[in-house]
């Protein structure tokens, strides 16, 4: 609408507005990834016809070839019919074999452009280019796949067009729009400073804290398959009893010390496997983690096999979240997330510092235009009535569960649900002290959590609406949940005394109403 014409000249050798196909090499990648869909039918056919002897193998091979052929053909058709074009004001994608769809996404609506590269894609030199619009309903555009150079070109182009659209009235001498578009992954001519990076040592520590026993769940899942493939009843008690009896003599022969050592070794093995899983996952995800501040916004790169490279303009950050874990909190490790309309590979927030000390977080928070909470804040706690109610409600389920246990279970068992109810009540009672909120003249803070406190900070003018909601209990007890309309996230402050809630709402509404949406520069 406003003066994109000025930036209409082609930024590169490619003509604008032409319908283009994705990279032909993506046909190979998509056919390859279609292979795994053929695996199970082939196995099924093999087993179904296994009574026919050698014919079974032929049948299985034919099925496989047919499936792969159909897959490749439809991949090709889809590739033929999928075109994208970059116009003066929008990006358009046309797709569909039988029913055609045309989608247009104006540059102004694009929240960010992300490039993703899995291992296979890297071998082929391709990237998946995704345009995030923040519409939430999956209305985004994904170009699967383009060459690395083309991906980078598109990203630069979108940024330039966006700048052209939104900065038409501003003069920004320092930032030459439509400048040097290079085909490298790093745009030339832009100074950037590293805000946060993780070296190997940090990654190792982080990995240890990411201790996970998920691998055992996977193993348990695998045994199901083992059972299916091998005729072996893994849950058959007799089999194991037999095995145990065989071993009995050997086990019994060990001294008591030996048994204790055995148990210890088992625990150590558990610890080693858990740590190794955590380390492997952390290394895969956060290898070479680097957050930079560039003139175009925050740029985060990470990943060992699947590399991701995300750029997010600083003014798009709606709120920030500081989290931690049960154990890592003791050592002062925190994680920092940005809340924005854009999605970060499935999760709603962008992790910008997964494992850092407070001192390291402060510059990142400030770069996003926020301030970390300090001593001057006037923290308010939730209503005491809310504490009472949550204690009662939290324990009620265990107390109710205690009734049938008391009636039918062996004597003494009833103490388990009673103890759980007591623990729940105590946890709720104690957690209340950490359940608090604060407001200053630009930001609103909410914090909760007993062992692993989570803090959320939103900018007052970037909120969209304020609501107070009260359930049947809250209405009688005089407290309310403050619901802040935050783009891209949820910001609730439960259990606020109604007077305080009204006051909070009043303050936030005044800041929202004093600034129009167009001025806050989403």
């Amino acid at each position: 609408m406003i003066g994109q014409e000025a930036h209409d000249q082609p930024d590169s050798a490619k003509p604008q507005g032409d319908a283009m196909h994705t990279d032909p090499k993506s046909l190979a990648v998509q056919t390859l990834s279609g292979l795994k869909n053929a695996v199970f039918p082939v196995i099924a056919v093999y087993f179904a016809t296994s009574s026919t002897g050698s014919l079974a193998i032929i049948a299985a091979i034919c099925t496989g070839a047919l499936l792969i052929g159909i897959g490749a053909f439809s991949t090709y058709l889809r590739w033929r019919k999928f075109t994208y074009s970059v116009n003066a004001e929008d990006i358009r994608v046309e797709s569909g074999i039988l029913s055609r769809t045309a989608r247009s996404v104006p540059f102004e609506r694009i929240q960010d452009v992300s490039l993703e590269q899995s291992l296979v894609l890297r071998l082929f030199g391709l990237v998946a280019v995704k345009f995030e619009t923040g519409s939430g309903g999956g209305d985004d555009i994904a170009l699967l796949y383009l060459s690395e150079a083309e991906g980078e070109r598109l990203r630069e182009l979108v940024r330039d067009r966006k700048d052209g659209a939104s900065n038409a009235n501003e003069v920004r001498a320092s930032e030459v729009v439509g400048g040097d578009i290079s085909a490298q992954m790093v745009p030339a001519g832009e100074e950037s400073s590293v805000l946060f990076a993780m070296d190997n040592r940090r990654l190792f520590t982080f990995g240890l804290f990411e201790f996970s026993l998920a691998v055992f769940a996977v193993l348990a899942g695998l045994t199901q398959y083992v059972e299916w493939f091998v005729d072996f009843e893994i849950w058959d008690a007799d089999l194991w009893r037999g095995l145990a009896e065989e071993q009995q003599g050997w086990l019994g022969g060990l001294s008591q010390v030996g048994q204790i050592v055995g148990a210890l070794l088992g625990l150590i093995a558990l610890f080693v496997v858990g740590s190794a899983t955590g380390l492997a996952r952390t290394y895969l995800r956060d290898w070479d983690f680097k957050l930079e501040e560039t003139p175009r916004g925050f740029r985060r790169r990470r990943g060992l096999l699947t590399k991701t490279d995300v750029v997010m303009p600083a003014h798009r950050v709606q709120a920030i979240k500081i989290g931690t874990g049960l154990l890592r909190n003791r050592f002062g490790w925190r994680s920092l997330n940005f809340v924005s309309l854009a999605q970060d590979s499935g999760s709603a927030n962008h992790t910008v510092a997964p494992f850092a000390q407070d001192a390291e977080l402060a510059p990142v928070i400030e770069a996003a235009g926020f301030r970390p909470p300090d001593e001057t804040l006037d923290w308010h706690r939730a209503s005491k009535l809310y504490r009472t109610d949550s204690i009662i409600l939290g324990s009620a389920i265990f107390v109710i569960a205690a009734i049938p246990v008391a009636l039918f279970a062996p004597a003494g068992m009833v103490f388990i649900p009673i103890a759980l109810a007591a623990i729940m009540a105590f946890a709720n009672y104690y957690a209340w002290r950490f359940h608090r909120h604060a407001i200053d003249h630009t930001q609103i803070f909410a914090s909760r959590g007993l062992f692993a406190p989570r803090t959320q900070i939103a900018s007052r003018i970037k909120l969209h609406s304020v609501g107070l909601s009260q359930g049947p209990i809250a209405q009688r007890r005089g407290y309310a949940t403050v619901r802040l309309g935050l783009a891209g996230g949820i910001f609730l402050i439960p259990g606020v005394p109604i007077e305080r809630a009204r006051q909070l709402r009043q303050q936030v509404i005044e800041s929202i109403a004093s600034t129009d949406f167009s001025q806050i520069n989403h």
Binding site: S465, G467, G471, L486
Partner: protein, 176 residues
């Protein structure tokens, strides 16, 4: 109705400076009385199949006489006679120079304020029942994930249109 119109019309040109706002805690404007009638008609339409089903169960003679049909008929009557009035009473709105406050709910009460400066787009919807009663639903959409669309049903159609124009005039040329 006219009173509301005046309230709306008395808005000064620029909504930028936050002027008085007793809109946030003050008295609410009630919805049009036809909203109650529309709710009643709607409840009747919903309740009817249940009552008919109960009559069929009664015909089947499985359970003692009246065990099914009487409670269901009573519930339906209560829902048709009593509930619409209470729901109508629980709802309300207040529009001021730069914001709209919408209050609703008997059991689950909610009280939401949307500043005009954050409205992305506005809908005025009229279902068949609403059209019969000459009322409409005004919906404000914001970019927030919470309260992303705030509904205000039971406005006289002309008023809903006026409110839409009024709110629209406050939305500066958007440039997301």
């Amino acid at each position: 109705m006219d009173e509301k119109q005046d309230n709306v019309a008395a808005v000064p040109g620029d909504g930028s400076a936050p002027v008085l706002n007793d809109a946030d805690d003050g008295a609410l404007t009630k919805l049009h009385i036809n909203y109650k009638k529309a709710l009643r008609a709607q409840t009747t339409i919903i309740a009817l199949p249940f009552v008919i089903a109960a009559l069929f169960v009664e015909e089947a003679d499985i359970l003692p006489k009246g065990l099914v049909v009487i409670p269901i008929a009573l519930l339906a009557l209560a829902a048709i006679i009593r509930l619409p009035g209470r729901r109508h009473f629980a709802r309300g709105f207040a529009m001021s120079t730069d914001r709209l406050r919408v209050v609703r709910g008997i059991l689950f009460h909610s009280d939401t304020i949307v500043p005009f400066g954050r409205v992305q787009h506005i809908d005025v919807d009229q279902g068949p029942l609403e059209r019969f009663y000459g009322i409409a639903t005004l919906t404000l959409h914001t970019a927030g994930t919470q309260n992303s669309s705030v509904n205000l049903p039971g406005l006289e159609h002309a008023l809903a249109m006026d409110m839409r124009e009024e709110i629209r005039s406050h939305i500066k040329r958007e440039s997301i």
